[in-house]
Symmetry: none
Subunit: 220 residues, 2 copies
DNA sequence: TATCTTTTTCAATGTTTCCTCACTTCTTTA
DNA sequence: TAAAGAAGTGAGGAAACATTGAAAAAGATA
Protein backbone atom coordinates (compact mmCIF):
# COMPACT_ATOMS: atom_id res chain seq x y z
CA UNK A 1 0.00 0.00 0.00
CA UNK A 2 1.05 3.58 -0.57
CA UNK A 3 3.27 5.22 2.03
CA UNK A 4 2.44 8.77 3.03
CA UNK A 5 4.70 10.95 5.16
CA UNK A 6 2.88 13.45 7.40
CA UNK A 7 5.05 16.39 8.40
CA UNK A 8 3.16 18.43 11.02
CA UNK A 9 4.24 19.54 14.49
CA UNK A 10 0.78 20.19 15.89
CA UNK A 11 -0.15 16.86 17.47
CA UNK A 12 -3.91 17.30 17.17
CA UNK A 13 -3.86 18.14 13.49
CA UNK A 14 -1.25 15.45 12.87
CA UNK A 15 -3.39 12.75 14.44
CA UNK A 16 -6.55 13.98 12.77
CA UNK A 17 -4.96 13.63 9.35
CA UNK A 18 -3.42 10.32 10.29
CA UNK A 19 -6.72 8.80 11.40
CA UNK A 20 -8.44 9.78 8.19
CA UNK A 21 -5.71 8.35 6.03
CA UNK A 22 -5.49 5.11 7.96
CA UNK A 23 -9.19 4.58 7.32
CA UNK A 24 -8.27 4.56 3.64
CA UNK A 25 -5.58 2.02 4.50
CA UNK A 26 -2.58 4.08 3.56
CA UNK A 27 0.63 3.41 5.46
CA UNK A 28 1.53 6.48 7.49
CA UNK A 29 4.98 7.65 8.51
CA UNK A 30 5.14 10.45 11.08
CA UNK A 31 7.47 13.43 11.24
CA UNK A 32 7.07 16.25 13.73
CA UNK A 33 9.83 18.51 12.47
CA UNK A 34 11.51 19.39 9.22
CA UNK A 35 14.77 17.77 10.22
CA UNK A 36 13.01 14.57 11.17
CA UNK A 37 11.25 14.56 7.80
CA UNK A 38 14.51 14.87 5.91
CA UNK A 39 16.05 12.00 7.87
CA UNK A 40 13.10 9.77 7.09
CA UNK A 41 13.22 10.68 3.40
CA UNK A 42 16.80 9.51 3.19
CA UNK A 43 15.89 6.06 4.42
CA UNK A 44 12.33 5.27 3.43
CA UNK A 45 10.68 5.05 0.05
CA UNK A 46 7.81 7.53 0.38
CA UNK A 47 5.01 7.88 -2.16
CA UNK A 48 3.60 11.25 -1.07
CA UNK A 49 4.32 13.99 1.46
CA UNK A 50 1.74 16.05 3.38
CA UNK A 51 3.65 19.08 4.53
CA UNK A 52 3.02 21.88 6.99
CA UNK A 53 5.05 25.04 6.34
CA UNK A 54 5.68 26.39 9.82
CA UNK A 55 7.85 23.70 11.34
CA UNK A 56 10.58 23.44 13.94
CA UNK A 57 13.99 22.76 12.40
CA UNK A 58 14.02 23.04 8.63
CA UNK A 59 10.83 24.79 7.51
CA UNK A 60 8.41 23.57 4.89
CA UNK A 61 9.56 25.95 2.17
CA UNK A 62 13.08 24.51 2.40
CA UNK A 63 11.81 20.96 2.21
CA UNK A 64 9.80 21.75 -0.91
CA UNK A 65 12.95 23.00 -2.59
CA UNK A 66 15.06 20.03 -1.60
CA UNK A 67 12.72 17.15 -2.32
CA UNK A 68 12.57 15.89 -5.89
CA UNK A 69 10.44 13.21 -7.47
CA UNK A 70 7.99 12.82 -4.61
CA UNK A 71 4.65 14.62 -4.84
CA UNK A 72 4.08 17.15 -2.06
CA UNK A 73 0.76 18.52 -0.87
CA UNK A 74 1.22 21.53 1.40
CA UNK A 75 -1.32 21.99 4.17
CA UNK A 76 -0.82 25.40 5.71
CA UNK A 77 -2.46 28.17 7.69
CA UNK A 78 -0.76 30.67 5.40
CA UNK A 79 -3.54 31.83 3.11
CA UNK A 80 -1.86 34.62 1.14
CA UNK A 81 -1.55 34.18 -2.58
CA UNK A 82 2.12 35.07 -2.39
CA UNK A 83 2.86 32.15 -0.08
CA UNK A 84 0.85 29.75 -2.21
CA UNK A 85 2.46 30.83 -5.45
CA UNK A 86 5.99 30.65 -4.08
CA UNK A 87 5.58 27.19 -2.68
CA UNK A 88 3.85 25.88 -5.80
CA UNK A 89 6.52 27.29 -8.09
CA UNK A 90 9.29 25.91 -5.89
CA UNK A 91 8.09 22.35 -6.24
CA UNK A 92 4.88 21.64 -4.34
CA UNK A 93 2.18 19.85 -6.32
CA UNK A 94 -0.83 21.18 -4.44
CA UNK A 95 -1.65 23.62 -1.64
CA UNK A 96 -4.52 23.34 0.80
CA UNK A 97 -5.31 25.96 3.43
CA UNK A 98 -6.28 25.23 7.00
CA UNK A 99 -8.92 24.51 8.10
CA UNK A 100 -9.28 21.91 5.40
CA UNK A 101 -12.08 19.56 4.44
CA UNK A 102 -11.02 15.95 4.90
CA UNK A 103 -12.83 14.63 1.82
CA UNK A 104 -11.17 17.19 -0.37
CA UNK A 105 -7.81 16.30 1.13
CA UNK A 106 -8.40 12.63 0.39
CA UNK A 107 -9.43 13.41 -3.18
CA UNK A 108 -6.37 15.57 -3.77
CA UNK A 109 -4.14 12.85 -2.35
CA UNK A 110 -5.66 10.37 -4.77
CA UNK A 111 -5.05 12.77 -7.65
CA UNK A 112 -1.35 13.02 -6.85
CA UNK A 113 -0.96 9.28 -6.38
CA UNK A 114 -2.82 8.68 -9.64
CA UNK A 115 -0.57 11.03 -11.56
CA UNK A 116 2.49 9.40 -10.11
CA UNK A 117 1.29 5.89 -10.65
CA UNK A 118 3.37 5.03 -13.69
CA UNK A 119 5.29 2.13 -12.36
CA UNK A 120 3.25 -0.23 -10.31
CA UNK A 121 5.42 -3.25 -9.82
CA UNK A 122 3.80 -6.19 -8.21
CA UNK A 123 5.54 -7.17 -5.05
CA UNK A 124 7.64 -10.26 -4.80
CA UNK A 125 6.39 -13.23 -2.85
CA UNK A 126 9.03 -14.61 -0.52
CA UNK A 127 9.32 -17.56 1.78
CA UNK A 128 12.61 -18.73 3.21
CA UNK A 129 15.04 -18.68 0.31
CA UNK A 130 12.33 -18.95 -2.31
CA UNK A 131 11.20 -15.93 -4.23
CA UNK A 132 8.33 -15.81 -6.66
CA UNK A 133 8.70 -12.89 -9.02
CA UNK A 134 5.18 -11.93 -9.99
CA UNK A 135 6.36 -9.58 -12.70
CA UNK A 136 7.91 -12.21 -14.87
CA UNK A 137 6.45 -15.39 -13.50
CA UNK A 138 9.64 -16.98 -12.35
CA UNK A 139 10.76 -18.81 -9.25
CA UNK A 140 14.11 -18.15 -7.66
CA UNK A 141 15.58 -20.48 -5.07
CA UNK A 142 18.82 -19.29 -3.51
CA UNK A 143 19.05 -16.84 -6.42
CA UNK A 144 18.91 -19.63 -8.97
CA UNK A 145 16.24 -19.24 -11.58
CA UNK A 146 13.70 -21.98 -12.16
CA UNK A 147 11.24 -21.87 -14.99
CA UNK A 148 7.69 -22.79 -14.04
CA UNK A 149 4.74 -23.44 -16.29
CA UNK A 150 1.52 -21.52 -15.86
CA UNK A 151 -0.14 -24.17 -13.72
CA UNK A 152 2.93 -24.88 -11.66
CA UNK A 153 3.25 -21.19 -10.97
CA UNK A 154 -0.38 -20.96 -9.87
CA UNK A 155 0.04 -23.89 -7.48
CA UNK A 156 3.23 -22.63 -5.90
CA UNK A 157 1.78 -19.17 -5.55
CA UNK A 158 -1.05 -20.53 -3.45
CA UNK A 159 1.33 -22.50 -1.28
CA UNK A 160 3.52 -19.47 -0.66
CA UNK A 161 0.51 -17.30 0.06
CA UNK A 162 -0.36 -19.71 2.87
CA UNK A 163 3.02 -20.49 4.36
CA UNK A 164 3.36 -23.14 7.02
CA UNK A 165 -0.27 -24.11 6.51
CA UNK A 166 -1.57 -27.20 4.86
CA UNK A 167 -3.45 -26.39 1.69
CA UNK A 168 -5.94 -29.13 0.93
CA UNK A 169 -5.93 -30.68 -2.48
CA UNK A 170 -9.53 -29.63 -3.09
CA UNK A 171 -8.74 -26.08 -2.07
CA UNK A 172 -5.67 -26.05 -4.24
CA UNK A 173 -7.59 -27.33 -7.21
CA UNK A 174 -10.25 -24.72 -6.69
CA UNK A 175 -7.75 -21.89 -6.34
CA UNK A 176 -5.72 -22.69 -9.38
CA UNK A 177 -8.77 -23.22 -11.54
CA UNK A 178 -9.03 -19.43 -11.65
CA UNK A 179 -5.71 -19.15 -13.39
CA UNK A 180 -5.63 -22.32 -15.38
CA UNK A 181 -7.84 -25.05 -16.75
CA UNK A 182 -9.61 -27.51 -14.53
CA UNK A 183 -7.63 -30.47 -13.57
CA UNK A 184 -8.15 -33.40 -11.29
CA UNK A 185 -6.33 -34.64 -8.25
CA UNK A 186 -4.12 -36.92 -10.22
CA UNK A 187 -2.91 -34.07 -12.40
CA UNK A 188 -2.18 -32.03 -9.31
CA UNK A 189 0.12 -34.76 -8.08
CA UNK A 190 1.92 -34.79 -11.37
CA UNK A 191 2.40 -31.03 -11.27
CA UNK A 192 3.80 -31.25 -7.77
CA UNK A 193 6.06 -34.05 -8.84
CA UNK A 194 7.31 -32.09 -11.81
CA UNK A 195 8.02 -29.05 -9.68
CA UNK A 196 9.96 -31.12 -7.16
CA UNK A 197 12.04 -32.50 -9.97
CA UNK A 198 12.82 -28.99 -11.19
CA UNK A 199 13.69 -27.83 -7.69
CA UNK A 200 15.94 -30.84 -7.23
CA UNK A 201 18.11 -29.69 -10.11
CA UNK A 202 19.00 -26.65 -8.04
CA UNK A 203 19.05 -27.80 -4.44
CA UNK A 204 18.62 -31.04 -2.54
CA UNK A 205 16.45 -29.42 0.12
CA UNK A 206 12.81 -30.38 0.12
CA UNK A 207 10.45 -27.46 -0.22
CA UNK A 208 7.06 -28.94 -0.94
CA UNK A 209 5.88 -31.28 1.77
CA UNK A 210 2.96 -33.68 1.49
CA UNK A 211 0.52 -34.02 4.35
CA UNK A 212 -0.98 -37.47 4.35
CA UNK A 213 -4.61 -37.54 3.27
CA UNK A 214 -4.94 -33.73 3.30
CA UNK A 215 -2.78 -31.84 0.86
CA UNK A 216 0.50 -29.97 0.64
CA UNK A 217 2.43 -27.28 2.43
CA UNK A 218 5.63 -25.35 2.11
CA UNK A 219 8.33 -26.90 4.23
CA UNK A 220 9.46 -25.15 7.38
CA UNK B 1 5.39 26.73 -26.63
CA UNK B 2 2.77 24.99 -24.53
CA UNK B 3 -0.77 24.86 -25.86
CA UNK B 4 -3.58 25.47 -23.41
CA UNK B 5 -7.23 24.86 -24.21
CA UNK B 6 -9.67 27.20 -22.44
CA UNK B 7 -13.18 25.78 -22.19
CA UNK B 8 -15.47 28.50 -20.85
CA UNK B 9 -18.73 29.86 -22.27
CA UNK B 10 -18.75 33.16 -20.39
CA UNK B 11 -16.97 35.52 -22.77
CA UNK B 12 -15.71 37.93 -20.12
CA UNK B 13 -14.13 35.25 -17.97
CA UNK B 14 -12.82 33.48 -21.04
CA UNK B 15 -11.03 36.57 -22.28
CA UNK B 16 -9.75 37.48 -18.85
CA UNK B 17 -8.05 34.11 -18.52
CA UNK B 18 -6.83 34.26 -22.09
CA UNK B 19 -5.17 37.66 -21.65
CA UNK B 20 -3.33 36.55 -18.55
CA UNK B 21 -2.03 33.40 -20.19
CA UNK B 22 -0.96 35.15 -23.35
CA UNK B 23 1.19 37.48 -21.24
CA UNK B 24 3.02 34.34 -20.16
CA UNK B 25 3.32 33.47 -23.84
CA UNK B 26 1.28 30.31 -23.83
CA UNK B 27 -0.54 29.42 -27.03
CA UNK B 28 -4.27 29.55 -26.39
CA UNK B 29 -7.00 27.54 -28.09
CA UNK B 30 -10.57 28.63 -27.42
CA UNK B 31 -13.64 26.51 -26.87
CA UNK B 32 -17.01 27.92 -25.82
CA UNK B 33 -18.89 24.67 -25.40
CA UNK B 34 -18.22 21.11 -24.37
CA UNK B 35 -18.85 19.74 -27.83
CA UNK B 36 -16.48 22.25 -29.36
CA UNK B 37 -13.83 21.25 -26.83
CA UNK B 38 -14.13 17.58 -27.73
CA UNK B 39 -13.82 18.33 -31.43
CA UNK B 40 -10.67 20.34 -30.85
CA UNK B 41 -9.18 17.61 -28.69
CA UNK B 42 -9.57 15.12 -31.51
CA UNK B 43 -7.50 17.27 -33.83
CA UNK B 44 -5.03 19.29 -31.82
CA UNK B 45 -2.28 18.23 -29.48
CA UNK B 46 -3.14 20.05 -26.26
CA UNK B 47 -0.83 20.28 -23.24
CA UNK B 48 -3.33 21.40 -20.62
CA UNK B 49 -7.06 22.08 -20.31
CA UNK B 50 -8.70 24.82 -18.26
CA UNK B 51 -12.26 23.66 -17.85
CA UNK B 52 -15.48 25.24 -16.67
CA UNK B 53 -18.11 22.74 -15.47
CA UNK B 54 -21.38 24.38 -16.49
CA UNK B 55 -21.15 24.36 -20.25
CA UNK B 56 -23.50 24.19 -23.21
CA UNK B 57 -23.35 20.84 -24.99
CA UNK B 58 -21.35 18.24 -23.16
CA UNK B 59 -20.76 19.44 -19.60
CA UNK B 60 -17.43 19.63 -17.84
CA UNK B 61 -17.96 16.55 -15.72
CA UNK B 62 -18.34 14.43 -18.87
CA UNK B 63 -15.24 15.89 -20.42
CA UNK B 64 -13.21 15.09 -17.32
CA UNK B 65 -14.27 11.47 -17.61
CA UNK B 66 -13.50 11.21 -21.29
CA UNK B 67 -10.15 12.93 -21.52
CA UNK B 68 -7.07 10.87 -20.70
CA UNK B 69 -3.44 11.83 -20.55
CA UNK B 70 -3.97 15.59 -20.61
CA UNK B 71 -3.87 17.48 -17.30
CA UNK B 72 -7.13 19.28 -16.50
CA UNK B 73 -7.59 22.20 -14.13
CA UNK B 74 -11.25 22.82 -13.39
CA UNK B 75 -12.27 26.43 -12.78
CA UNK B 76 -15.80 26.47 -11.48
CA UNK B 77 -18.35 28.44 -9.52
CA UNK B 78 -19.40 25.21 -7.85
CA UNK B 79 -17.83 25.44 -4.41
CA UNK B 80 -19.29 22.39 -2.67
CA UNK B 81 -16.88 19.73 -1.48
CA UNK B 82 -19.00 17.09 -3.16
CA UNK B 83 -18.55 18.66 -6.58
CA UNK B 84 -14.84 19.10 -6.05
CA UNK B 85 -14.28 15.56 -4.86
CA UNK B 86 -16.27 14.00 -7.69
CA UNK B 87 -14.47 15.89 -10.38
CA UNK B 88 -11.05 15.26 -8.85
CA UNK B 89 -11.69 11.55 -8.51
CA UNK B 90 -13.01 11.32 -12.04
CA UNK B 91 -9.81 12.59 -13.54
CA UNK B 92 -9.26 16.32 -12.96
CA UNK B 93 -5.82 17.25 -11.67
CA UNK B 94 -6.77 20.43 -9.83
CA UNK B 95 -9.86 22.44 -8.94
CA UNK B 96 -10.06 26.19 -8.49
CA UNK B 97 -13.20 28.05 -7.42
CA UNK B 98 -14.44 31.30 -8.92
CA UNK B 99 -13.60 34.05 -8.31
CA UNK B 100 -10.00 32.99 -8.65
CA UNK B 101 -6.71 34.78 -8.17
CA UNK B 102 -4.80 35.00 -11.43
CA UNK B 103 -1.37 34.48 -9.90
CA UNK B 104 -2.53 31.33 -8.16
CA UNK B 105 -4.01 30.09 -11.42
CA UNK B 106 -0.75 30.71 -13.22
CA UNK B 107 1.20 28.91 -10.51
CA UNK B 108 -1.13 25.91 -10.61
CA UNK B 109 -0.85 25.77 -14.39
CA UNK B 110 2.91 25.70 -14.10
CA UNK B 111 2.69 22.88 -11.56
CA UNK B 112 0.67 20.71 -13.93
CA UNK B 113 2.92 21.42 -16.89
CA UNK B 114 5.97 20.70 -14.76
CA UNK B 115 4.58 17.37 -13.59
CA UNK B 116 3.72 16.37 -17.13
CA UNK B 117 7.15 17.29 -18.39
CA UNK B 118 8.84 15.13 -15.79
CA UNK B 119 6.61 12.24 -16.70
CA UNK B 120 7.65 12.44 -20.33
CA UNK B 121 11.31 12.43 -19.38
CA UNK B 122 10.83 9.30 -17.35
CA UNK B 123 9.22 7.61 -20.28
CA UNK B 124 12.47 7.39 -22.18
CA UNK B 125 11.63 4.77 -24.67
CA UNK B 126 14.96 3.01 -24.72
CA UNK B 127 15.97 -0.48 -23.85
CA UNK B 128 19.33 -2.00 -24.58
CA UNK B 129 20.10 -0.99 -28.17
CA UNK B 130 16.48 -0.32 -29.07
CA UNK B 131 15.03 3.15 -29.26
CA UNK B 132 11.45 4.09 -30.04
CA UNK B 133 10.91 7.41 -31.71
CA UNK B 134 7.61 8.69 -30.38
CA UNK B 135 7.12 11.22 -33.12
CA UNK B 136 7.20 9.18 -36.28
CA UNK B 137 6.51 5.65 -35.06
CA UNK B 138 9.90 4.34 -35.89
CA UNK B 139 12.08 1.88 -34.11
CA UNK B 140 15.83 2.10 -34.14
CA UNK B 141 17.92 -0.94 -33.37
CA UNK B 142 21.64 -0.32 -33.31
CA UNK B 143 20.90 2.91 -35.18
CA UNK B 144 19.16 1.05 -37.97
CA UNK B 145 15.73 2.30 -38.79
CA UNK B 146 12.68 0.05 -38.76
CA UNK B 147 9.27 1.33 -39.72
CA UNK B 148 6.42 0.17 -37.46
CA UNK B 149 2.69 0.42 -38.00
CA UNK B 150 0.49 2.07 -35.41
CA UNK B 151 -0.48 -1.16 -33.71
CA UNK B 152 3.01 -2.58 -33.77
CA UNK B 153 4.26 0.62 -32.21
CA UNK B 154 1.64 0.48 -29.45
CA UNK B 155 2.57 -3.09 -28.60
CA UNK B 156 6.30 -2.51 -28.56
CA UNK B 157 5.89 0.66 -26.52
CA UNK B 158 4.12 -1.28 -23.82
CA UNK B 159 6.85 -3.89 -23.82
CA UNK B 160 9.61 -1.31 -23.56
CA UNK B 161 7.81 0.54 -20.79
CA UNK B 162 7.97 -2.67 -18.77
CA UNK B 163 11.38 -4.01 -19.63
CA UNK B 164 12.30 -7.52 -18.54
CA UNK B 165 8.75 -8.02 -17.34
CA UNK B 166 6.08 -10.14 -18.85
CA UNK B 167 3.25 -8.12 -20.31
CA UNK B 168 0.12 -10.24 -20.40
CA UNK B 169 -1.72 -10.89 -23.62
CA UNK B 170 -4.84 -9.37 -22.12
CA UNK B 171 -3.00 -6.16 -21.39
CA UNK B 172 -1.68 -5.98 -24.91
CA UNK B 173 -5.06 -6.75 -26.40
CA UNK B 174 -6.57 -3.89 -24.42
CA UNK B 175 -4.11 -1.63 -26.13
CA UNK B 176 -4.98 -2.76 -29.61
CA UNK B 177 -8.70 -2.63 -28.96
CA UNK B 178 -8.62 1.03 -27.96
CA UNK B 179 -9.18 2.04 -31.52
CA UNK B 180 -10.56 -1.03 -33.20
CA UNK B 181 -13.58 -3.09 -32.32
CA UNK B 182 -12.69 -6.70 -32.75
CA UNK B 183 -9.43 -8.08 -31.72
CA UNK B 184 -8.36 -11.58 -31.52
CA UNK B 185 -5.48 -13.17 -29.71
CA UNK B 186 -4.58 -14.38 -33.13
CA UNK B 187 -4.10 -10.84 -34.40
CA UNK B 188 -1.72 -10.13 -31.57
CA UNK B 189 0.37 -13.10 -32.59
CA UNK B 190 0.47 -11.90 -36.16
CA UNK B 191 1.60 -8.44 -35.11
CA UNK B 192 4.32 -9.91 -32.98
CA UNK B 193 5.33 -12.18 -35.80
CA UNK B 194 5.46 -9.29 -38.25
CA UNK B 195 7.58 -7.23 -35.92
CA UNK B 196 10.01 -10.06 -35.39
CA UNK B 197 10.31 -10.42 -39.13
CA UNK B 198 11.09 -6.72 -39.49
CA UNK B 199 13.64 -6.88 -36.69
CA UNK B 200 15.24 -9.90 -38.31
CA UNK B 201 16.05 -7.88 -41.40
CA UNK B 202 18.32 -5.76 -39.26
CA UNK B 203 19.80 -8.07 -36.65
CA UNK B 204 19.74 -11.74 -35.86
CA UNK B 205 19.32 -11.14 -32.14
CA UNK B 206 15.97 -12.01 -30.67
CA UNK B 207 14.28 -9.15 -28.89
CA UNK B 208 10.70 -10.20 -28.27
CA UNK B 209 10.41 -13.30 -26.15
CA UNK B 210 7.22 -15.32 -25.63
CA UNK B 211 6.30 -16.52 -22.18
CA UNK B 212 4.10 -19.55 -22.43
CA UNK B 213 0.53 -19.05 -21.32
CA UNK B 214 1.19 -15.52 -20.08
CA UNK B 215 2.34 -13.10 -22.72
CA UNK B 216 5.46 -11.47 -24.11
CA UNK B 217 8.46 -9.60 -22.86
CA UNK B 218 11.53 -7.80 -24.05
CA UNK B 219 14.53 -10.02 -23.94
CA UNK B 220 17.07 -9.80 -21.17
C1' DT C 1 -16.59 8.60 -55.84
C1' DA C 2 -13.67 5.14 -57.55
C1' DT C 3 -9.09 3.25 -57.30
C1' DC C 4 -4.96 2.07 -55.23
C1' DT C 5 -2.08 1.33 -51.11
C1' DT C 6 -1.33 0.18 -46.54
C1' DT C 7 -2.65 -2.01 -42.46
C1' DT C 8 -5.16 -5.24 -39.89
C1' DT C 9 -7.66 -9.37 -39.37
C1' DC C 10 -8.85 -14.04 -40.52
C1' DA C 11 -8.09 -18.78 -41.52
C1' DA C 12 -5.10 -22.65 -42.27
C1' DT C 13 -0.91 -25.28 -41.29
C1' DG C 14 2.85 -26.89 -38.87
C1' DT C 15 5.44 -26.74 -34.58
C1' DT C 16 6.34 -26.64 -29.72
C1' DT C 17 5.07 -27.01 -25.10
C1' DC C 18 2.22 -28.43 -21.60
C1' DC C 19 -1.47 -31.12 -19.32
C1' DT C 20 -3.78 -35.28 -18.41
C1' DC C 21 -4.47 -40.05 -18.17
C1' DA C 22 -3.37 -44.65 -17.07
C1' DC C 23 -0.26 -47.42 -14.98
C1' DT C 24 3.57 -48.97 -11.84
C1' DT C 25 6.09 -48.51 -7.78
C1' DC C 26 6.75 -46.79 -3.27
C1' DT C 27 5.10 -45.32 1.46
C1' DT C 28 2.08 -44.87 5.28
C1' DT C 29 -1.19 -46.50 8.51
C1' DA C 30 -4.79 -49.30 10.44
C1' DT D 1 0.18 -57.33 5.82
C1' DA D 2 -3.52 -55.39 3.32
C1' DA D 3 -5.47 -51.24 1.89
C1' DA D 4 -5.15 -46.63 0.71
C1' DG D 5 -2.57 -42.71 -0.42
C1' DA D 6 1.38 -40.66 -2.68
C1' DA D 7 5.27 -40.46 -6.13
C1' DG D 8 6.84 -41.01 -10.49
C1' DT D 9 6.82 -42.23 -15.62
C1' DG D 10 5.79 -42.03 -20.41
C1' DA D 11 2.44 -41.72 -24.15
C1' DG D 12 -1.15 -39.21 -26.39
C1' DG D 13 -3.72 -35.40 -26.93
C1' DA D 14 -4.86 -30.65 -26.11
C1' DA D 15 -3.59 -26.05 -25.93
C1' DA D 16 -0.59 -22.34 -27.16
C1' DC D 17 2.61 -20.43 -30.39
C1' DA D 18 4.70 -19.12 -35.19
C1' DT D 19 4.23 -18.18 -39.79
C1' DT D 20 2.03 -17.55 -44.08
C1' DG D 21 -1.12 -15.93 -47.59
C1' DA D 22 -5.45 -14.10 -48.60
C1' DA D 23 -9.47 -11.26 -47.41
C1' DA D 24 -11.28 -7.27 -45.30
C1' DA D 25 -10.91 -2.78 -43.55
C1' DA D 26 -8.96 1.65 -43.39
C1' DG D 27 -6.63 5.38 -45.44
C1' DA D 28 -4.74 8.02 -49.30
C1' DT D 29 -4.99 9.95 -53.95
C1' DA D 30 -6.81 11.64 -57.83
Amino acid sequence: MKKILIVEDNIDIHNLIKENLEKESYTIIDAYSGTEAMLILEKEKIDLILLDLMLPGINGEEIVKKVKNIPIIVISAKVSTEDKVNVLLNGANDYITKPFNKDELLARIKVQLRINNNKKDEEELRFKDMMLDQNNHKLYIKDKEIYLTKTEYAILKQLILNPKQVVTKTKLLELISEDTLDCDENSLKVHISNMRKKIRTVTKDEYIESVWGIGFKIHE
